[in-house]
Every structure is written in structure tokens, then in C-alpha cells.
Amino acid sequence: MFSFLKKKSPEVVNSPTTDTCELEPIKPALEGNINLDEPVIAVKKSLLSRFRVNLTKTRHKFTDQVANLLLGKKVIDQALLDELETLLISADLGMEATQIIIKGLTQNIARKALTNPDALWDALRRALIDILTPCQKRLDLSHSKPAVFLMIGINGAGKTTTIGKLSHYLKAQGLNVMLAAGDTFRAAAVEQLQAWGARNQLPVIAQQTGADSASVLFDAVTAAKARHSDVLLADTAGRLHNKDHLMEELKKIKRVLGKAEPGAPHEICLVLDAGIGQNGLVQLEKFHQALGVTSLILTKLDGTAKGGIIFAIAEKFKLPIYFIGVGEHVDDLRPFNAIEFVDGLLPLMTL
């Protein structure tokens, strides 16, 4: 019964290491200097393999833990379930999501639907995929022209970098993209977005730091309409969700955008750092309460953080997660896929 588990798991352990070795020589080139005159040329390596490498590297430790847990177990007992619970928590899934998952598994065990650790593994995978599947949606910006995409989040979540990567992605799809430097607070945030604009050869509407963010974005919408842009990606200053005056500023931005173009902003996207703990849920709640968040992007999944908070978020909000960020390179933005995400977490170990 466990023969395949035993056979397969060493591969799971080893494969990331091999992949890492493959990747190493390329890395320095990718993260090399940013030269505004010469946009970095996309590396020819297949996107999917890049993504797989990064994601597998991220998750292999977690997978090892689960595999070790299941190996050598003949029956499912409470201790095993407790350990699984512990593991889900340590992936930042949070108590509520974890308990829902464990409860589901326990019920199936009680009904004798799950009789061995292999089946338990599969059931866990299925449960995780089921939670995320409603969130897997494709970004569709064709309903309006220009489609105004407002990027929000706390400080350091990766809003500006994500805009840089997203603009590249959308441009590659043949869309006419414009950027708006709505972060008028943080030092050099405007310059950072301009650098991305130059790199992707896209227009950036900006004023100086300290200008009124809503007015910059209003101008940007006007400019986007005048130039017949398909998409306007609007950056905003990072802000903590418990700062009332900053949340009021965001509400104002939303109102003003609506005045510049009826229906705008068409997307209000919260950027979340995969390393975030349980506060991620609070963040979404607060931003949602203030603005009505329409979608999510999860960044920095190329580290060891598991981003498990999105399970808790998906349980509660079912918001689309359009993309995940898996690196600093312009190509390191991937459409979110529930099965791929869970595969990274718990790979298919049985056939």
C-alpha cells in the first residue's frame, strides 16, 4: 500500500535540488542591473518550468513533512490527524480553514470512506483544491475601455513590482497598457514605476511625490481615454488597513476614479505577500469593508512562505485570485491555478 509512497518520496525530495542547480547560473543575469535604456530581454526558458522550479523549491519542505508523516503509518489515528492539523497551521492556513479541512477528513474517516494514509493524502489534496477552485478565474478586462485596475495593499506587499510585471503580461497579450503613479507618498515610488514603464516601453502618468493621489489618477484616466488605452494600471501608496485616514484616502480615490470614468475602477485588486500570517485575513476584511475588493494577487511565492492564508481567505470571500508572483523578474507573474498551487503544496504522490 505504501510502496509507491516510499518509492516516490525520495524523488520529491531530490528534484528541487536538481532544479535549483539548473537555475543557478541564470539567476545573476536575471537579477542584474536595471538599465532603463535597455529593457531586460525575457529569458527563453519556458515559463512553466520557471514557475514549477520556483514553486517546488518553495514547497518541498512542507511536502517532506507530510510525506514523513504518512510514511510508516498503517492506520489513520488521531495522532496522525493532529499532526496534519499542525502542518496545515504551520503553512499559515489558520485555525478556521484548518479545522474545516480536518473536520471533513474526520467525517470521511468515520464513514469508513478513508481507510489508509494514501487515501487520506488524496482527500486532503482534494479538500485543498476544492477550497481554491472557486478563486481560479481569468482576468478579463474587455468589458470596458479603458479598464481601470486599481492596485492596493499594505506597505511592502509588492504593488509596484506587480504592476511592472502585470503590465508586461498584458502588453504581451496585445493590450494597450498605461501606468499611473498613484503612490505619491513613498520616496521614489514614482521613479520606481517610471522605471518599470521605461523597461516595458509603456506610458506612465505621474506627478511629483507629495501630489494628491486621486488627482494624479483622475488625470491618468483622462489620458487613458484620450490615447484609447485598453488598460490603466493604477498604483497606490502602501497603507496599513487600520489607519482610518489612509483608508478614507482610498475611498476618495475610488470616488474620483468613478467620476473620471463611469464604472471605474473596474478592478480593485489587493496585493498580499505570501509571507503574511493570520493578519492577511484581517487586511482583506478591512480593505473589503472600505472599498469592496474584487480580486487578489499573491506575491513572493518564490520563497519558503506557503501563502496558506489564501485558504482562509478563499473560505470566507471566494474572491478571484488572478495571479501569483514567483520572483523579481518581469516574467515572474503567473495566472493562478488551484491545482498547480496545491500540487506545489502536496504533489500527486500516487498514480
Binding site: D92, T161, A187, Q194, G275, G303
Partner: protein, 454 residues
């Protein structure tokens, strides 16, 4: 949102309220609650396990102080242990070397290194009157160098110019040379954010560290980090000889359990907290405050300490005995309790320390004031001893006399009586477990009985 640890504990300890000693049996459920609370606060799992073992070892066999519930006793043990683990208050920066004292900042992307570098420069310039030079070695993120330059101009601190086409090592060496030549006291080196699993980048930072030989190598980390904090901290600590930690974005509402994980895993002191976006928003670290926050509660420890210090134990015991004998809670007891509360700094100061009180709007808080208690005491003082022991005999003419005697209206007397009966009902419900003042305060935390107020 999440229940605070003290609420959770009160649920688990309800069953064993009468027991005077913490034992393996009766703390089992509570330990599970503590574990969950720590996990919800994002303390990393391995750290939680060790922590729980420590608590268990410390708690078993401890006598519960009479004025406290066993739950409160346990919370105190937990918080003391947390404070201990979080380390010394404000470990100062080490500046006692031949200048320049080099400080290197390292951390993940978006943790707040550049902002912290500027804040630190401002702090050292203003509080310690040091001549500070800043330099950015972040040649990767677009406009990172401009960001530090802008901030340096804002705080009026010198910066060594660098640009993205240079090598970080070259920039660092040049900055150090300039700092030496131009007699700077401190050189603060900002670096690019990097992932701990990115070998090339980790190699770069250790090379930087080796070249600069900094007196302080500070790990900058986001206080909202989840379980991954343990992994990250370990990797950075292995790669670099860290001397301390800067915990950023603590002005958010995350519990900040990552601090405990990082502190435990690296063994390095937390030196500063980032408390806002402005360049002045940097504070020395206070372990006790962070401990309360991780547990999601008010300053219950100092409340407990005050209870130990001020509550008249004899009177409290008398009341407990009286309740246990089945005799009613009367107006004299009510008055005693108010007097004890006043000894502890009055209701307003008590409320400030109670968990969950932060959520109460200010206008409601203002209604509960110490003045209304003065009136209650005056009314009770105007009663005869017989009336105090048996308020049921109070009819129209007695009430009128009491009102006149205390300088109040009959309505005030009626309001007091209503409050008193409510409280009496509550005390009866608590039955044998009644623990006087503390139980009463616990009840107030839960929203009952109605507060006196106008």
C-alpha cells in the same frame, strides 16, 4: 475576530474554578488554548512547542493567589514567560568603537529596510548627536537608490551616491572609505531585499558583511510575517553574524508573534520597532508591551499585580466565606468592593488595563466614571446598617430620607438599588466560586452588570 487568550482561558478554567493549585490535569485544556492563541498570533510552531513545555513546567504545582482565578494566574505565568523570552528592554546600539561604526541592514523584499535605514539615521543624528552617512547598495530594485537619497535629503543626512550599474561591494567599500576620511561616526548601509534561499544573493550579503565588518548587522523583518518567519530568520542568522533585529510595521493590528519566533530562533535582541511611515516613527523595543499584544489582551499582568498589592485579603476572604455559606451579597459588601476598586486606581484606570476594553467606544467609557461611584458610596453611607444588610425593607419614606441624607434624588437611590440587585443575581449565579472583586471585574469585562453612569 479572534478571542483573546484571557477569554479563551476563562472558558477552559470554568470547570475547575474551585481548585487552588495548577496541576497537570487541570491545565491540559488551557495549554491547548494557549497553543492555539500563539498559533493565531503567528508564532512559529516549533517555538510554540518549546514554549508550551516551559509553561507546563512552570505552572504545575503553583498555588493560585486567592484573589485571582486560576485562569488569571495562568495568564500571568504565560505573559511573564513571553516577556522573558522576548528579551531585554531596548538593547542599545553598540557605538563604542573607533568610528565609523558600520551598520548593515538585511532582510526580505518589502520588509522595510530602506525606510528603517532613514529612520535609524534620523534617530542617531537627533538622539545621539552622531554624524551619519547613508549608502544604498540596492542596485536591483528600480529606484531603490533614489528612495534612500530622497529620504536622506528629507532628514538632512549625508548620502554616498551610488548607481545601479555598480557592484554592491564597490559601493560599500567606497562609502566606508569616505566615512573614515570625513570623520563620520556612523555609516548605515542599506541593501537589496533578498530571499534566504537565493544562494547568489545570500553570498553577496555575506561578502558585504565581510568587507564592511559592521559593528551592527541588523535583520529587518515585517511584524506581520507568518510561520515562515522561523525559516527566514534561521537562514539569515546562519548566513550573517546578526547583532539585532528591527521589527517593522508594528503600527498595524497584527499580533506580531513572528517577533517571538525570530527572537527565539536567532537568540538576537529585538532593538527597534518601526511604528509608522514617517521618518521619526522608530521606537526602542519594550518586551512587555509586545507580550500583551501577542496574547491579545490588555495589561492584565499589572492589573493582577495591583490586585495582589492592594486588595484587602482579609475582607475578600470574608466575602468569599460569606458567599460560600450561602449568605447574600449585601450593600455593605457592595461598598467594600467599590472601596477596594478605588484603592486600585479607580474604575477608569482598571478599565484601561482590562482586555477587550480597547474595543469600547470612548463615549461609553466616559460614562463610567469614578464620580458615579462617589455618589453610590454616599447613598449607601446614608443608610442604616439594617437597611444595608436588607435593602428589601427600603420603601418610599426610607428612600426619601436616604436621598436627602446623601444629597441625591430618590431616582438615584432607585437606580443604585437596581444595580445592586443585578449584581446580587450575578453573584448568586457564580455561587460558591465567587471570588469577590476579581469575579466582579470579570463580569464587567463580559458586559454585565450595568455600569453606574449618567
Amino acid at each position: 475576530m479572534f478571542d483573546s487568550l484571557s477569554d479563551r482561558l476563562s472558558k477552559t478554567v470554568r470547570n475547575w474554578l474551585g481548585q487552588g493549585r495548577l496541576s497537570e490535569d487541570n491545565i491540559q485544556d488551557s495549554l491547548r488554548e494557549i497553543r492555539l492563541a500563539l498559533l493565531e498570533a503567528d508564532v512559529a510552531l516549533p517555538v510554540v512547542k518549546i514554549f508550551i513545555d516551559n509553561i507546563k513546567a512552570k505552572a504545575i504545582g503553583v498555588d493560585v493567589i486567592k484573589t485571582l482565578s486560576p485562569g488569571q494566574m495562568l495568564v500571568k505565568i504565560v505573559q511573564d514567560e513571553l516577556t522573558l523570552l522576548l528579551g531585554e528592554k531596548n538593547d542599545a546600539l553598540d557605538l563604542a568603537i573607533k568610528p565609523p561604526a558600520v551598520m548593515l541592514l538585511a532582510g526580505l523584499q518589502g520588509s522595510g529596510k530602506t525606510t528603517s535605514a532613514a529612520k535609524l539615521a534620523k534617530y542617531l543624528t537627533e538622539r545621539h548627536e552622531k554624524k551619519v552617512l547613508l549608502v544604498s547598495c540596492d542596485v536591483y530594485r528600480p529606484a531603490a537608490i533614489e528612495q534612500l537619497a530622497t529620504l536622506a535629503a528629507e532628514i538632512n543626512v549625508d548620502i554616498e551616491a551610488s548607481n545601479a550599474s555598480e557592484q554592491p561591494l564597490e559601493i560599500a567599500a567606497r562609502a566606508k572609505l569616505r566615512a573614515q576620511k570625513e570623520w563620520y561616526d556612523v555609516l548605515i548601509v542599506d541593501t537589496a531585499g533578498r530571499l534566504h534561499i537565493d544562494e547568489a544573493m545570500m553570498h553577496e550579503i555575506s561578502a558585504l558583511n565581510a568587507a564592511l565588518n559592521p559593528i551592527e548587522t541588523l535583520f529587518v523583518v515585517d511584524s506581520m510575517t507568518g510561520q515562515d518567519a522561523a525559516t527566514t530568520a534561521k537562514a539569515f542568522n546562519d548566513a550573517l553574524p546578526l547583532t539585532g533585529i528591527i521589527l517593522t510595521k508594528t503600527d498595524g493590528d497584527a499580533r506580531g508573534g513572528a517577533a517571538l519566533s525570530i527572537r527565539h530562533i536567532t537568540g538576537k535582541p529585538i532593538k527597534f520597532l518601526g511604528v509608522g511611515e514617517r521618518v521619526t516613527a522608530l521606537e526602542p523595543f519594550h518586551p512587555d508591551r509586545l507580550a500583551s499584544r501577542i496574547l491579545g489582551m490588555g495589561d492584565i499582568v499589572s492589573l493582577v499585580e495591583e490586585a495582589q498589592l492592594h486588595v484587602d485579603k482579609v475582607k475578600a476572604d470574608k466575602l468569599t466565606k460569606k458567599m460560600q455559606k450561602g449568605k447574600g451579597f449585601d450593600l455593605e459588601d457592595f461598598r467594600d468592593q467599590i472601596a477596594q476598586m478605588n484603592k486600585m486606581g479607580g474604575i477608569q484606570s482598571l478599565m484601561g488595563k482590562l482586555p477587550g476594553m480597547g474595543a469600547i467606544p470612548a463615549n461609553v467609557k466616559d460614562k463610567v466614571n469614578d464620580k458615579s461611584f462617589v455618589q453610590i458610596v454616599a447613598i449607601i453611607n446614608s443608610m442604616t446598617p439594617k437597611e444595608r444588610r436588607d435593602p428589601d425593607i427600603l420603601k418610599g419614606s426610607r428612600k426619601k430620607r436616604i436621598a436627602n441624607g446623601s444629597g441625591t434624588q430618590v431616582q438615584d437611590v432607585n437606580r443604585l438599588l437596581k444595580q445592586f440587585y443585578d449584581m446580587q443575581t450575578m453573584m448568586k449565579r457564580m455561587g460558591k466560586g465567587g471570588k469577590g472583586l476579581m469575579a466582579m471585574l470579570g463580569g464587567m469585562g463580559g458586559g454585565m452588570p450595568p455600569m453606574p453612569g449618567r
